[in-house]
Symmetry: C2
Subunit: 303 residues, 2 copies
């Protein structure tokens, strides 16, 4: 179980429209995007909740991908549904509707198999729930979490408490600033490192990503994309590639392993934006991943 990842987060139906088209009630949610990406590298178990309307084909789709759904609770009612629209620049999603439905009552309970997973990823949910999950674990070797502006402003104290026990934090630039009230990203990152985590991954969209680990700083570019179709889930797909690789890598504290994890995160998220929902990442061949990874890494190797 050392390399098995437990992810706790949302399983959702997404209705998204962009300049390139739209989807209705497509497979989505942070735990889903994370899992599909991570499962290319390591076994994944999901803890989440769906309503009775959650399509059986979606469950089958996930199970076929080395993703254990024993922890996917089905509650009376409807599945979490998010409806949003992106502008031409794909920077900001405009939320049209957020129907929490059964997700409002999400109270994750782990079984023994979940508790013994070596790696834990706490996707973006209420920090009280994130702490509740962590307290049920039997000493994982690597704990990472994500969060968002909403929790930083509403449940700051709980989030700060959680960070003491987390190894890696995933944020975007705005969240790093909001959490530390510090504009400069380098200074903000150093402040967060003092709050507990050993490492911080800052996701910067088409500006790439940064890793702060101890005194080391790594900035890497995004993989250039010809046509962005739908950025929904790109951050979770990044985290999935990152954590999936890292869980398989043995010593995750090795900076070379962390650099490869950053690159796999970048590559997986570059695929995810090329189509709606999980279409692209859910149908990738291993050789496609390998080829893009090699291309990405080779381009950055300046001789």
């Amino acid at each position: 179980m050392k390399n098995t990842i437990l992810v706790v987060g949302s399983v959702a139906l997404d209705s998204v429209s962009t300049i390139h088209g739209s989807t209705k009630r497509a497979l989505g949610g942070s735990a889903v995007h994370f899992s599909i990406s991570a499962s290319r590298f390591s076994p994944v178990k999901v803890v989440g909740v769906v309503g009775e309307d959650f399509p059986v084909p979606f469950k089958r789709f996930l199970k076929r991908r080395n993703i254990c759904l024993d922890g996917l609770e089905v509650m009376p009612g409807r599945t979490f549904h998010w409806k949003g629209r992106y502008d031409r620049d794909f920077k900001n999603a405009r939320t049209i509707a957020t129907e929490l439905n059964v997700f409002r009552h999400f109270n994750p309970k782990l079984n023994g198999d979940h508790a013994r997973c070596g790696v834990l990823f706490l996707a973006n949910i209420d920090p009280d729930l994130q702490r509740g999950v962590l307290s049920q674990m039997a000493g994982p070797r690597l704990v990472a979490c994500d969060t968002m502006n909403y929790w930083i402003s509403l449940k700051r104290a709980s989030l700060v408490k959680l960070l003491r026990d987390v190894d890696l934090l995933f944020v975007n630039e705005e969240e790093a600033r909001q959490l530390t009230r510090e504009y400069n990203l380098m200074t903000a990152a150093r402040k967060i490192l003092k709050m507990g985590p050993s490492g911080i991954v800052v996701k910067r969209g088409d500006s790439g990503a940064m890793l702060f680990y101890g005194r080391q700083v790594l900035s890497i570019p995004a993989h250039p994309i010809e046509k962005v179709v739908d950025p929904t889930g790109a951050g979770d797909t990044f985290a999935g590639g990152f954590m999936g690789y890292l869980a398989s890598a043995g010593d995750w504290r090795d900076f070379d392993a962390l650099r490869r994890a950053m690159s796999y995160g970048t590559v997986m998220s570059s695929f995810s934006v090329e189509d709606f929902s999980v279409k692209r990442v859910g149908s990738l061949s291993s050789s496609e991943i390998r080829a893009r990874y090699d291309k990405y890494v080779d381009a950055l190797s300046i001789k």
Copy 2:
């Protein structure tokens, strides 16, 4: 003269204020930032104009740095003066005053030494003047130019004409979009490549830089900076490092040389923002440049 760079652009006095302080009538201008950066790699000759008020110590400062000022005309009147302020995010400069002064009458005339330079950099000036300079050259082996939103909207036809005879174009993302009326950067770049240049360098500030060369695309990150003091001239300093290295590299069409040029541009511009005016780049030791270049390139080399 094969490796000597001729740069034609502004020589200015800048009064800049940022959250970290301010300067009054400090050394600035595109040709100046470019030259100081480029001269670390290749000999540079400047063609520009200043007024009678241009301080003698500034001339001495430039001459000491392998920069030939034979083409720096002194006209009756005052030197171009720009006054601006940056907000906390350093993204947009707010112009408080632009006093063109003698620069309004700038009409670059080359002598025989200028005309025989192997490499030409046309900094951001009126495309009519850029074309006038190019027509005076005796067959340079590499021609690059910069431009800005102002010329793209006001002198589009002249700029498009110039691009037919230019090897490399330096722009930022907005300029690439404005020039092509195409939002997607990759598509915009391909459209520009059809207009004449073999390569396009897109400067993206703290998001790094991209190079489009034929069918190849390279995206590289910025070098992470602890404290940005003044971003004025960062783009010209980037171009200086890029062109300076490339002029010294023999075959500039070699993609490995272009990738190293991108890295030297990144490194030089990362120094430039660490202090006001040309203070940091103008006082760098070769070992400082080498050390940061090695650090930058090593970090990106993912094993």
